[in-house]
Structure formats: C-alpha cells, structure tokens
C-alpha cells in the first residue's frame, strides 16, 4: 500500500493559487469514500473563494471515454475540472492515459478517488501516472470548532 502526503482542499487550492493559472497541473486526490462528498464541497468552495472561478465537477459516469474532448475543451480563463472516480471504469482510465496531452493542456485537473480505485488507475495508466503533479491524501475541512464557553 502506498503512503501519500496529506492535504486539505484549502491547502491544495492555495498551492494552485501560488502556482498560477499558467501552470497546468493534474492531481490525483485519494480520499475515504465516505468523505468524498465533503471533499468535493470543500474543493468547490475553495476554488471559488481563492481562485475566483467555478469548479467543473463531474462523476466518472458523466465522462465518455471516446469523447474526452467535450470534457476538456474549455472556454474559461482558468479551467478547473474535478472528476470523481467513484467506480472502476477501465476504458475511462485507458482513455485518460491515451489522451494525456489533452489533459495536460486543460488547466487544472483534479481526480478524486478512493484508495482502491486510485491504485488501479495508477497501475493501468502509466502515462497519466507520469504526468501527475502529485498524489495526495485529501481529508475534509474541520469546519466546526468547540462551542464557545
């Protein structure tokens, strides 16, 4: 089992903000399945607050392997795309791998996956693996603190 550095949406998007829109990046974000919804919400909010753009969020079922161009064609100044790999779809992983140049030219691409699917993607898509900016373990924000005394 691979160990990944830990991050949060806040820290990750800060990194993106520092790197700037001219630095295309592809991240594989590994997270607990139960936390995926919260992580997605955090990413959407942080991208909006820190980068001032809307995150385009898609599930793997919404991405057609033979039509990646539709997903990664962009009309915004800083496209940020989040794809939740919520099921193992070998054809999709293969398509990402074959179209790695398209992904690498598509602004910021964030893949979120559970550990099992992340490891399968890494094994099945060597080109994608080689072009990843980083693989990080992402956890949800701790929103609420202790109630005031």
């Amino acid at each position: 089992m691979i160990d990944f550095s830990a991050t949060t949406a806040f820290r990750l998007v800060r990194q993106l903000a520092v790197a700037g829109r001219d630095a295309p990046s592809i991240y594989l974000l590994v997270c607990e399945t139960a936390a995926m919804g919260a992580v997605r919400t955090d990413l959407e909010a942080e991208v909006q607050v820190q980068l001032g753009v809307d995150l385009r969020s898609l599930s793997s079922a919404e991405v057609q392997p033979e039509r990646l161009g539709d997903v990664f064609s962009h009309g915004t100044a800083w496209p940020v795309i989040l794809i939740t790999l919520d099921r193992w779809l070998p054809k999709l992983a293969d398509s990402f791998d074959r179209n790695i140049v398209l992904l690498a030219r598509s602004g910021t691409v964030l893949f979120v996956a559970g550990r099992d699917i992340a490891e399968r993607v890494l094994a099945a898509a060597p080109n994608l693996r080689n072009r990843l900016t980083d693989i990080l373990l992402i956890t949800p924000d701790e929103t609420f603190g202790d109630p005031p005394a």
Partner: protein
C-alpha cells in the same frame, strides 16, 4: 428642544441609521465567510505580515438562538501585535445578517496605544449618547467612540493595513 434632548435625538437618529445599515448588509453564508477570512489571513502570512495561522481559524460554532459564530481566538502579526475577533451571524428570512462582532488588536510594546477594540453590540443600548451600538475603544479608554457599520471583512482589512501598521507608532 433643549440641547441635551437634541443631542439625544441626534444620537438616536445615528443609531437608527446603524440599524438600517445592518439590516441592508446581507452577508455570505457563514462557511463561505469563514473560508474568505481564512484565505485573507493566509495571504497576510504569505506577505510576511502575519505569523502562520492555524488552518482551522476562524472556527465556526453554532450558538444559542440560531446564531452562528466565527471565531479567531488568536492570530499574531510578525511585528508583535495580536488579533482576536469573533463575528456572530444570524439567519433571517432574507439571508445572513451580522448580529454582533468584536475585533481586538493588541499592539506591540513600545507603541503609545496598547490596543484598539472595535465592537458591534448585540443590541442597541439604552443610552446611545454614551454607548453607540457600533463603537471603538482606543487604548484603555472607556470612551465608546462611534464607528461606522461596515462588512467585517473590511474591518479585518482596515486592521491589517492600517491599525496594526500605524496606530501608536
């Protein structure tokens, strides 16, 4: 009308304007405001103006009566000043409104002013001439200097760019 009564009338009118401004100042949802304040503080850190802040600051807490509080218990400026604040937001039919806030800036030793406090009380006081709902304290003074109503994000910015840099230097 005597001058005393006229002054009281003027103070009440000022408080009415304060109430009107607060009622018109619709805020972001508390979680979004928390994220905005957090990134603002982190950019102050990037600029070297503040010491590294905890990623969990400001913290959200639900308190009594449907009020949500955003609290920053302690943030340090690189030059030695310290900042504490809390902002209470209340959800109304039209959206989120500011109910109360407290911004405390403790300036570093060597300044002629040791602290600046900016308060919005939860309610209008019975003596608006002496205690305006939104006011500022300078140093240890008990005087409640009227302070204009503004978005708490703007107050934080004023503190970081003006008060901390310039007061009592």
């Amino acid at each position: 009308m005597s001058i005393d009564n006229e002054l009281l009338q003027l103070a009440r009118e000022r408080e009415d304007k304060t109430e009107g401004a607060l009622a018109e100042m619709l805020m972001e949802q508390p979680d979004r405001l928390r994220r905005q304040l957090r990134v603002y503080l982190s950019r102050q850190v990037d600029r070297g103006r503040m010491k590294r802040t905890d990623e969990k600051i400001p913290q959200l807490a639900a308190i009594q009566g449907g009020v949500t509080e955003l609290a920053c218990p302690n943030a340090g400026f690189s030059a030695g000043a310290r900042l504490q604040f809390n902002i209470q937001l209340e959800q109304k039919q039209r959206g989120w409104l500011v109910k109360r806030f407290r911004f405390h800036v403790h300036l570093p030793p060597g300044r002629s002013i040791n602290m600046v406090l900016i308060h919005l009380n939860a309610e209008v006081g019975h003596d608006p001439l002496r205690i305006p709902r939104c006011h500022m304290h300078i140093g240890d003074s008990q005087a409640h200097v009227p302070f204009p109503i503004m978005d708490p994000r703007l107050i934080l910015h004023l503190i970081c760019e003006l008060v901390e840099l310039d007061f009592g230097v």
